[in-house]
Symmetry: C2
Subunit: 323 residues, 2 copies
Amino acid sequence: MSVLYKRVALIGLGLIASSMVHAMRRAGLADEIVGTARTAETRAIAREDGLCDRVVETAAEAVEGADLVVLCVPVGAMGPLAAEIAPHLAPGATVTDVGSVKGAVIAAVAPFLPSHVNFVPAHPLAGTEHSGPRSGFAELFDNRWCLLVPTEGTDPNATARLRALWEGMGSFVDEMDADHHDLVLAVTSHAPHLIAYTMVGVADDLRRVTDSEVIKYSAAGFRDFTRIAASDPTMWRDVFLNNKDATLEILGRFTEELFALQRAIRTGDGDHLHAYFTRTRAIRRGIIEAGQDTAAPDFGRSGKPVTAGSDGAPRPAEEPRQG
Amino acid sequence: MSVLYKRVALIGLGLIASSMVHAMRRAGLADEIVGTARTAETRAIAREDGLCDRVVETAAEAVEGADLVVLCVPVGAMGPLAAEIAPHLAPGATVTDVGSVKGAVIAAVAPFLPSHVNFVPAHPLAGTEHSGPRSGFAELFDNRWCLLVPTEGTDPNATARLRALWEGMGSFVDEMDADHHDLVLAVTSHAPHLIAYTMVGVADDLRRVTDSEVIKYSAAGFRDFTRIAASDPTMWRDVFLNNKDATLEILGRFTEELFALQRAIRTGDGDHLHAYFTRTRAIRRGIIEAGQDTAAPDFGRSGKPVTAGSDGAPRPAEEPRQG
């Protein structure tokens, strides 16, 4: 893999940014990586670990002379950050971000950017429950999707180069528009996360069942909910506040359906329940038959991309499920 | 491991029963295993595969001379089955089941059983999304919990022997009363399953996002929901109808909390969201610190039991999560 950028500036040094450092170094994608973070503590850790080639004090300083600037801060902090760095961006630079919401980020960032830079918003679909400059690792993006959401007027060459960077870091890359991105993510990630947060909160409130029992006796289902519910609170607060419409739409449909199922349970309508569960089982089977998932609980990490064809042979022994 | 039962009768030959066959044989726990199933097709498959030592036509025939009778049918079928086998049960036999609900099973089964048998309801917390006589495997119960719910007047020796059987099949065993079992399972399994079913149904209804996109771009969260939602529809219909009160209680609290979070999103109350997510993160961390879970996505299969102490060192690289 050849060098794609001479100087990459990472603003914010959490899980995604620190993983990008390791992944870019693994493949030799950048000549120099400059980083900065809001808190002195994070900057000190990054310096101590030699995380970046240089750690600087301010975002303005970080972007000087960079041909790629990556905004790796919570979605709610993107707008003020853009205002701060705008006067210091080099002509021809590409500005991108890694936020989980695209519509709100574009609305907050784009107005500040000068016309001599290219803005290519991005969203790597990868993460762990851990955060901070020491949580990153080179393999985080391997075989995971990164969605690019190029804005109007973006130079296609800038988009192509950013695509090559993400592919070089191990990702599969797709492009879509911001509205569609935000709806897809509301379904696949934002609503499920809020639901998991809620269920963990409920279990904790229920004093008749101890936390220890809840974990001890849960296999699939609840145990995964607790893992989801451990994600970074600030990041997720900003996700929900900034993908409000799509998330509320999905949650509205969700509660509507859930009420129908609750009523079926209350009234003893077994046929309704059976028909519903048969339909969802068919959805899952369709997914496996289309080769879009394996039955193995690897969360798709080791799998080939959907577009690469079928790796969907079910491996039943690896799938715990309980009643 | 020595032989614990001379003749084990398995009524119903699905995932749990067929896994019990393999697990009992692995450890040499039974001299003879007799099986039967409702449909001629299942009996024919079991015969063809040599699944049991003998496959017989009726449940009444299966229990003749058995010192352990295991009811492996959906929860809703337990009562009629008990009525059918009751006159044929050998004196001193132990009758048990593997249903996911205990209160309703006890209410349905106990009245039919003669006083010369011991009834020890059980619930192995194990399963996959697959069902039928060919879905079983010997390792299904390894390092998983099996909960025993002895009924009043049960001979402690009968309970102890059944405990030894489950331990011989690889499980950890605990005892609790039926009400507590049903509440714990409503929290850890039944409500999460209904929630997953619902979310998969919602995604499918949403025609603007294709099923293929939903899977392609989901890592954790939704992908696991589809796996959960592929479980056996009949079994789950019966679980919800028979653990109605506890499930509805948990779902009621769940929707209450979810509404509060939805309102916070709608009104832009970031503080409420942040505080909630911080609390659930603390719950998750408490769980890891107590050694009650690892950070690895193995669903606890490979872990030691909670009571065996800490194996909870987080392994961040193995945990995909996305925004």
